[in-house]
């Protein structure tokens, strides 16, 4: 019998082109998604060296990071942004690459539209010049973020130079508590293992909680693998994934579909496969989570308080926490639910899919955004926006006083003009609470969509479970 292998091992081995003596491997890359921020210099590199794109149909180009989320039909006001977005289209045409225009209904955040279009599939290797490419692992693809030089490398060679990652497995079993979502689970995991807990690893998520979770929820979990330091997140594809993919525009059809599903069914870790790191969680221990600091590991259950740096023994760690509290302008011992917010952002590749919007709308329905709070909802793609509108979610949001926007990365990274002003504080469904991430001097608290809506209607971080009685 062959050695039992992990899911990661199987996908890796099936894409190995060559292994050099020193262990460096040439790994075949099936698909690449390209956006406007990390690609211009890669196309320049191709031109300078007179190199063609090896497999044009293996790429998909779309602008998302820098697009306006309102009034876009009137064009892009910011000149630098406009140049960057126009350049993406020009590069697509020059090299003959599949391209989705930013006015097309299929436009959206790279990590939302890959699965949505069926471009992402189990068992393939997929890269994008964006760290949250880990998202696509929810469908059982080996997907990771790369830099611009590597974008160019994939364009020119359809491969990457890589070394195998470590195998890590996080298993979550048990009963989930009421109000606990995929976002709370991944925040709790990062709080436990830390932002370097997965460094050098591909994290496979397993256990009954993951099996019972929707494909969208798995995307939320895999998305933030990078915040745990991992290269990628993975979930073994199952019937839910096949049902999710069937009929999507770029998914296989007819006999090819049957053949693909046969293969996809083999994509799971063998019994007895060895992992370098194993961590287990009991779902019953996980509460709805919020972040209080400036790193995604600085999180806690919503019922808790801001930690006290003097309780921390490690000097460097104490300083880091101290600095975070100063930046966030919060005091040790303060109840998290006493933290007042100025803005709410519901969106990003972590939480902008239809079930995220539904969860937020359930909380927003019949309530009003608190006085002095600005709240925005930015769907992950034009198709999600359409579906949400067909379900009447936009009406629920706008009646509650939320701003209903057009798709893009928006305030996740504060690049397109949707941003926090210095000193402003947000409850955000995105993935990074770094200093200045949502705008210079801005302060970010990471939350789930339902908790973001709860914060919007109360004006402070709030426990969504206590909402109906308390408000």
């Amino acid at each position: 019998m062959a050695e039992p292998r992990t899911l990661f091992d199987k996908i890796w081995e099936s894409h190995l082109v060559e292994e050099k003596d020193d262990g460096t491997c040439i790994l075949y890359i099936d698909r690449q998604i390209i956006h406007e921020i990390t690609s211009a210099q890669a196309f320049d590199g191709l031109r300078e060296n007179n190199r063609p794109v090896r497999v044009p149909e293996a790429h998909l180009l779309v602008a998302d990071h820098n697009v306006p989320t309102a009034g876009r039909a009137d064009g892009i006001a910011n000149e630098e942004s406009r140049i960057q977005i126009e350049l993406l289209e020009k590069n697509a045409k020059e090299f003959g690459l599949p391209f989705i225009d930013f006015l097309d209904v299929r436009q959206g955040i790279v990590h939302v539209i890959g699965p949505e279009q069926g471009f992402t599939q189990p068992g393939l290797t997929l890269v994008c010049g964006d760290s949250h490419t880990a998202t696509h692992g929810a469908l059982g693809a080996l997907a990771f973020g790369i830099g611009t030089s590597e974008v160019e490398h994939v364009l020119a060679t359809q491969t990457l130079l890589q070394k195998p990652s470590k195998n890590m497995r996080i298993t979550i079993n048990g009963e989930l508590r009421e109000g606990v979502t995929a976002k709370d689970i991944i925040l709790a995991i990062i709080g436990e293992i830390g932002t370097a807990g997965g460094t050098g690893s591909v994290i496979e998520y397993a256990g009954s909680v993951i099996e019972d979770m929707s494909v969208e929820g798995r995307m939320t979990v895999c998305n933030m693998s990078i915040e745990a330091g991992a290269r990628a997140g993975l979930v073994a594809p199952d019937q839910k994934v096949f049902d999710y993919l069937v009929g999507r525009p770029m998914a296989p059809k007819g006999a090819a579909w049957e053949q693909a599903v046969e293969y996809w069914k083999t994509l799971k870790s063998d019994n007895g496969a060895a992992y370098d790191i194993e961590v287990e969680f009991d779902a019953a221990d996980i509460e709805p989570h919020v972040s209080w600091g400036t790193s995604p590991e600085m999180v806690g259950p919503i019922g808790g308080v801001v930690p006290n740096p003097t309780d921390i023994n490690d000097e460097a760690k104490r300083q880091t926490v101290q600095g975070a509290l100063e930046y966030m302008n919060i005091q040790p011992g303060m109840k998290l639910t006493d933290i007042h917010i100025d803005k709410v952002f519901i969106g990003s590749c972590t939480n902008s899919r239809i079930e995220d919007l539904r969860a937020a709308a359930r909380v927003a329905r019949g309530r009003k955004v608190a006085a002095g709070v600005y709240a925005m909802v930015v769907p992950g793609s034009g198709l999600i926006k359409e579906q949400a509108e067909a379900e009447g979610l936009d009406v629920i949001f706008t009646e509650a006083g939320f701003d209903w926007r057009e798709p893009g990365c928006s305030m996740c990274l504060g690049m397109n003009g949707d941003m926090l002003e210095p000193g402003e504080r947000s409850a955000s469904t995105s993935n990074r609470n770094f200093q200045g991430r949502q705008g210079p001097g801005g302060r970010t608290h990471l939350v789930s969509p339902a908790m973001a809506a709860a914060a919007a209607v109360t004006g402070h971080l709030a426990d969504v479970r206590g909402l109906s009685s308390a408000e």
Binding site: Q41, R54, V55, H65, I83, L161, A196, G229, Q319, F434
Partner: protein, 206 residues
């Protein structure tokens, strides 16, 4: 890419952990379509006031650190986004080497592809180098990649590990793509095999 040569230079100490790529180069500077010119915006939001004047307390604004060529940093340096603008900004500023106990994966890859050497040391070694670096101009640190040694101002040496392939590329100033294309026939035969065994992988393409 320029060949990496042995040098000695001023090292700037930045002891904080988890210095992320948003800190290194905030997102709004990613609108550039060039690789160069980002050095002035390195650490922008901690380096400048809102009116564009320099923040006096930020270390790179101290006269003795303005020409730093080495950065000694806290754990998990470069975590966060995949933006290659981070190593572009660091090298454009003039820094050729970053020393820490650990680096985020993507940042690690991106750096070597831009001629930026990253050296992993133990926490004790890092603390010693932070101490050296605190003396600024008076304590230049040497970096000898060929022999894999950090040369401390007191004459002491710290040996370090580096991936042989990355070392070779850095010393020779080699471009990865050219190297990979030497395996063109292997890539082609992989593609042909995949077309046979997993035709939908191609068929699914737009």
């Amino acid at each position: 890419m320029k060949k990496f040569e042995t040098f000695s230079g001023v090292a700037v100490p930045m002891a904080g952990h988890n210095i992320d790529t948003d800190r290194i180069i905030p997102a709004r500077f990613l609108k550039t379509i060039k690789r160069t010119g980002l050095g002035v915006n390195l650490f922008n939001d901690v380096r400048y006031n809102e009116d564009g004047s320099e923040k006096e307390d930020f270390i790179l604004n101290h006269p003795q650190y303005r020409n730093s060529e080495i950065l000694v940093a806290g754990d998990n340096f470069g975590c966060g986004s995949s933006r290659e603008h981070a190593p572009w900004a660091i090298t454009d500023f003039g820094i050729k080497c970053v020393i820490s106990t650990s680096f985020a994966d993507i940042f690690f890859n991106n750096s070597f592809k831009n001629g930026l050497l990253l050296i992993k040391v133990t926490p004790e070694q890092r603390d010693a180098l932070l101490e050296d670096a605190s003396h600024g101009e008076n304590a230049r640190i040497g970096i000898d990649l060929e022999n894999q040694k950090i040369l401390r101002p007191d004459g002491g040496e710290i040996a370090f590990d580096v991936d042989p392939f990355r070392k070779h590329c850095l010393l020779e100033g080699l471009d990865d793509i050219g190297i990979t294309l030497q395996s063109d026939d292997k890539i082609t035969s992989f593609e042909e095999k995949q077309k046979q065994s997993m035709p939908w992988m191609q068929g699914a393409r737009v």
